[in-house]
Symmetry: C2
Subunit: 264 residues, 2 copies
C-alpha cells in the first residue's frame, strides 16, 4: 500500500545522556509526539539514546525497520558530543559532505555577529549527502531532512524553541495529506476500571471496530472510584473520526447505565 493511502507511522529518537540520567524531563519527546499526532501521524515508538555514534546509529537502523518518518532531537551543535548527523551518515553508509545551503546559513549568522566560522562551527554545515536543510531561525544549527529509501529522517536540535519551530516548518514538506485524529473522554464517577474492563475488551475485538478505547482510573479502587474513558479514531476525515468516537461513547454510556445500579 503506498504511503498516501494510509496514515504514516513515526518513531521519535531523543538523544542525550542528561535524559538517561534523569536530569532532564523529556519534554521534547512529548512535544514532537503531540505535533505529529495532531497531523495524523501515528507515533508507534520512541527511542532514548546516549550521545554516542554507535547508540545513535543503532537507533536510526532500528527505527527504519518499522517507521515511515523518523524524528531525532539533539546533537546538532558545535561540540564534540554533537554527533547525530555524522552517526546517521555512518550507520546508513552515506558520505558526509559540506552542504552549501547550510554553509551559507552559518556564514550569514556568524557574519552578522562578527564571529569567525571556526572548525567547530563549520561542522554544523556537514550533512549526509542528499540531505535537504531545515533552516533554524532561532539558533545556529540547521536541521536535516533526508529521504532514505522512501523513509523520511528529520533531525532537529535539542533546544526546545529551535526544535519546535523547525519541526513545524518541516512537517508540511513531509506529509502530503493529513489524517484526522479525534478523541474525546468521559468521566464516570462511581465506576471502577475493573467493572468496565470485560465490556471494553469485547468491543475492541469486534470486527470492523475503528475506535480505540482507553480507560484511566481516577482514584485507587478502594476509595471514591471513578474512571475516565477515552475513545479515539483516526480516519481520512475529521467528521468520520468524530462520528466513530461519539457513537462509541454513547454505547459505553449505555453499558455504564445498566450496571451502574447493580454495582457494589
Amino acid at each position: 500500500m503506498p504511503l498516501d493511502e494510509k496514515w504514516k507511522s513515526a518513531c521519535i529518537i531523543t538523544i542525550g545522556n542528561e535524559l538517561l540520567k534523569g536530569r532532564t524531563v523529556n519534554t521534547n519527546f512529548t512535544e514532537i509526539a503531540k505535533m505529529l499526532t495532531d497531523h495524523g501521524v501515528e507515533v508507534t515508538s520512541g527511542l532514548v539514546v546516549m550521545d554516542a555514534p554507535e547508540s545513535i546509529g543503532w537507533a536510526i537502523k532500528t527505527a527504519l525497520l518499522s517507521s515511515d518518518i523518523i524524528v531525532t532531537s539533539g546533537g546538532l551543535g558545535p561540540t564534540f558530543d554533537d554527533m547525530t548527523l555524522a552517526s546517521i551518515g555512518e550507520a546508513l553508509g552515506i558520505d558526509m559532505i559540506e552542504n552549501l545551503d547550510a554553509l551559507e546559513m552559518l556564514k550569514a549568522r556568524f557574519g552578522k555577529m562578527h564571529l569567525e566560522l571556526t572548525a567547530s562551527r563549520r561542522k554544523m554545515a556537514v550533512f549526509p549527502e542528499g540531505s535537504e536543510i531545515i533552516p533554524n531561525s532561532v539558533g545556529s544549527a540547521p536541521g536535516m531532512l533526508l529521504n532514505h529509501e522512501g523513509r523520511i529522517i528529520i533531525s532537529l536540535p535539542g533546544v526546545p524553541s529551535e526544535m519546535r519551530s523547525m519541526l513545524a516548518s518541516a512537517i508540511p514538506r513531509v506529509i502530503g495529506h493529513d489524517f484526522f485524529y479525534f478523541d474525546k473522554s468521559i468521566t464516570f464517577p462511581g465506576v471502577m476500571e475493573s467493572q468496565l474492563a470485560p465490556f471494553v475488551s469485547d468491543i475492541m475485538r469486534r470486527p470492523g471496530n475503528m475506535a480505540y478505547i482507553k480507560s484511566h482510573p481516577l482514584q485507587t479502587e478502594d476509595k471514591n472510584p471513578g474512571i475516565k474513558v477515552e475513545v479515539s479514531a483516526r480516519t481520512d476525515s475529521l467528521a468520520k473520526s468524530m462520528e466513530i468516537v461519539e457513537t462509541m461513547l454513547r454505547e459505553i454510556q449505555e453499558i455504564v447505565k445498566k450496571f451502574g445500579k447493580s454495582s457494589a
Copy 2:
C-alpha cells in the same frame, strides 16, 4: 566479566499510547532513570512503546540484547490494555501461571474493601513462571522481578506513586554493590561552547580518561554567551569519583583562564 566487577547497564521501557500521542509527559522515565543513576546503574537506553503485545515483546527482546537490568513501567492493571506481563511471557516463551504470593496480596486487598476478586482483578495475579513479586503498598497491581538468563526484568505499574515506592523496594533486591556516580558543573560566563569544544575533544580522547565532560550553552551564541560544563565519573568509590571530577574541573578552569583574555 561478572556483573559485580563492573557497574550494571539498564534499559527503561515505558508503555502507553498516551505517551506516544504527547498527552502525558514521560516523568516515569525520568524518575526511574534518576533512581537507577543514583544507585550507580548506567541507563544506556529507553524505549517507549504502545499498549500492544507485539510492541512490548519487541521492546523486551531488544532490551535484553544489551542491558543487565530492564525496568518496565505501565500495563499491570486489570483492563484489556494492561498486557505487559503476558506480553513478556509470550516474547520470552515463559508460561504464565497464577502466582500464589500475588493472589494472596490481591485477596487481602480486595477482601479488605469487601470487593469480589473478579476475573479482571484476578488477572493481576498471573505472572511469567519463575517471577518474584514486588508488593504494591499503594495500589492493587503487584510488580514483577524476573531473572531471565542472568538479566533482571523489573515490571512496575504506570501510576507514579506506586512505581516509585515499588522501584525503591526492588533495587536492593537486584543490585548487590553500588557504584558511585558523581558529577559537578561549573558555569563560565563569556565563554562560547564552540571555543571550548576542541579542548574538550582532546581531553575525552586521552587514554585512561575516566571523566565524562558535557557542556551546555546557556544562551544562543549571539548574545551574552556562557556555558555550563558538567564533569562526571562513576567508579567503585565516591571519593575516587569525586577526585576525578574535581581534578578535571580544575584543568578546564585553567584552559578557560588562558583563552579568556584572547576571546572575541
